[in-house]
Symmetry: C2
Subunit: 330 residues, 2 copies
């Protein structure tokens, strides 16, 4: 099978988000730490769902959000992830294909249901995720078709793939295929607790397999077990060719071997829901990057996409990111 | 089985909404008339879903939205409707129970999937619905438990129940049970095309079975086949004890045998999505009505609830209607 060339192919956990607003004390009552991604099994998922208020379902998944964002910028994207042949799997597949993304991995016909993440949004807009991985555990190296990777400028991988055991093999296969074809490999660290679970493996990946790293402040500090952003920045510069470090309202720092850029965040009216901020920052950055833009320009595209996504509920763009970029003169 | 007393028990088609924004030309391309509810079969549903953009899933269903609204006002509600034991059925059941509504109808264990309505929201906020009835065709008189009806002050029925054949029998059984127990029966006409499908039957219902009628301008004009609102108002006054006629931004007219009230709409910043406007108007009105409030007061509660629902995507309240009513001094 051959594939059309794309800017970015993303590999990740294919998830439908169930978003609900919560009061400040809900997380405390249920002993859930704010802002993180927690893995839950089927029983825990049921217990939490029964306790939470009414939700809305929107397709999510970190790398899938990024690829949908690239499509919204007018870029070409492909996605590799695993759903089941159930209603939520149908929703996931529809939503990502509807924005023009190539998603051709066959859904599982048995085993656990399509993954969902109960995303609890606090009054301050911070989100806390509780993810049942479901069918994502079925993603493996066989789902990574060589020509799909070879025909993409960038292969973008999420750290969350380290959680389902077989997905890690898919990740490593994709990274090797990309490098063998002289393509770029990019990784997002995903979550500070995820980094904590796989610190040594991630450090090895950065040195050997990753060209472009995305991490937020908590993640990069966790990786190097340091307290200050600057200490993490210095460590990252030594470890990877290009580190893109996001700092929420403080903007981002883009660090390459011979240049460092500090780019401001895009102003917003109100932080409605932080879900997808990092995913969409990566979308903007990679859209610029795959179109040969200067690094500071890439950072601004990331900031614009992140600002759009946190101004509404859900992690898929509501406005055309292409239009927003044009309006900003980018 | 006995049931706790409630203010209102609603009977309706249990539906999960799939909301997507569309351009102005989408409806034309697909030959769909704007603003109406269209029934689609499974194949048509698939064709339309494949053609539409990414959606978000939110529990819906006309009477279910009304009962959820009553719960948001702090009232007690129960709901009778049929889902399947599938993922969307689970979502529907969770969301309505999560706001405190008694929903105890067993899901179907075979047959078609939980109903969904593809709701296309135009740039002006108007919504056009394309409903696959699915498991709703399984709702029948056996799902109407006598004590559930007898213990409710008002039994609220949607005209849409006339579409699935067995649901009509459930409707008529509930109306008889309610009247035999000296309870109130209320009907919403639901949709002008629905009225057109069942005009004579609805006219008979109004004369014999319905105490409180809800209809919008298009529906009541369709029922009496007249062109002017006033002509419809005069006809309705002769036919039913209490007619509550809504006119979008023109407010509503509440017409009883010996009093008529004209109540203004509540101002809004922007019409985001008209989905659920009528359902939530009915929620506010019935909440006042079941608490013995004057008719004009009931109309204002309806206007407040309708204004909240059309200011955001989806047909379930995002803000506490109880708080909004208190802030308005009601």
């Amino acid at each position: 099978m051959t594939h059309n060339p794309v800017d970015v192919v993303g590999i990740g956990n294919a998830i439908v988000d169930v978003l609900a607003r919560i009061d400040d004390d809900f997380l405390e009552t249920h002993n859930i730490s704010k802002g993180a991604m927690h893995l839950v099994d089927e029983d825990q998922a049921r217990t939490l769902y029964d306790a939470m208020g009414p939700g809305i379902e929107i397709s999510g998944g970190s790398a899938a959000n990024t690829i949908a964002g690239i499509a919204s910028f007018g870029g070409n994207g492909a996605y590799i992830g695993k759903v089941r042949d159930d209603q939520l799997g149908d929703v996931f597949g529809h939503d990502i294909r509807a924005v023009g993304v190539d998603f051709s991995v066959a859904p599982a016909t048995s085993g656990p249901a399509t993954a969902r993440s109960m995303i609890l949004v606090s009054p301050d807009g911070e989100r806390t995720m509780n993810t049942f991985l479901g069918a994502c555990v079925g993603l493996g190296p066989d789902d990574v078709e060589p020509s799909r990777i070879q025909s993409a400028k960038v292969t973008y991988l999420e750290g969350y793939l380290w959680d389902p055991a077989e997905a890690k093999k898919a990740f490593l296969k994709a990274a090797k295929l990309a490098h063998d074809a002289d393509r770029i490999v990019s990784l997002t660290l995903s979550d500070a607790f995820c980094v904590d679970r796989y610190r040594d493996e991630f450090k090895g990946l950065l040195r050997e397999d990753v060209d472009v790293l995305f991490a937020n402040e908590a993640e990069i500090c966790s990786l190097y077990e340091v307290d200050s952003f600057d200490a993490a920045l210095q460590a990252a510069r030594g470890d990877c060719k290009l580190a893109v470090l996001t700092r929420s309202e403080k903007g981002c720092v883009v660090a390459a071997a011979d240049e460092v850029h500090v780019v401001d965040a895009e102003p917003i009216d109100k932080l409605v829901d932080a879900t997808g901020a990092g995913d969409l920052f990566a979308a903007g950055f990679l859209h610029g990057f795959t179109n040969g833009k200067p690094l500071a320009h890439c950072g601004r595209l990331g900031a614009i996409a992140a600002a759009e996504i946190i101004s509404h509920i859900g992690a898929r763009p509501e406005l055309s990111l292409k239009d927003l970029a044009e309006r900003a003169g980018l």
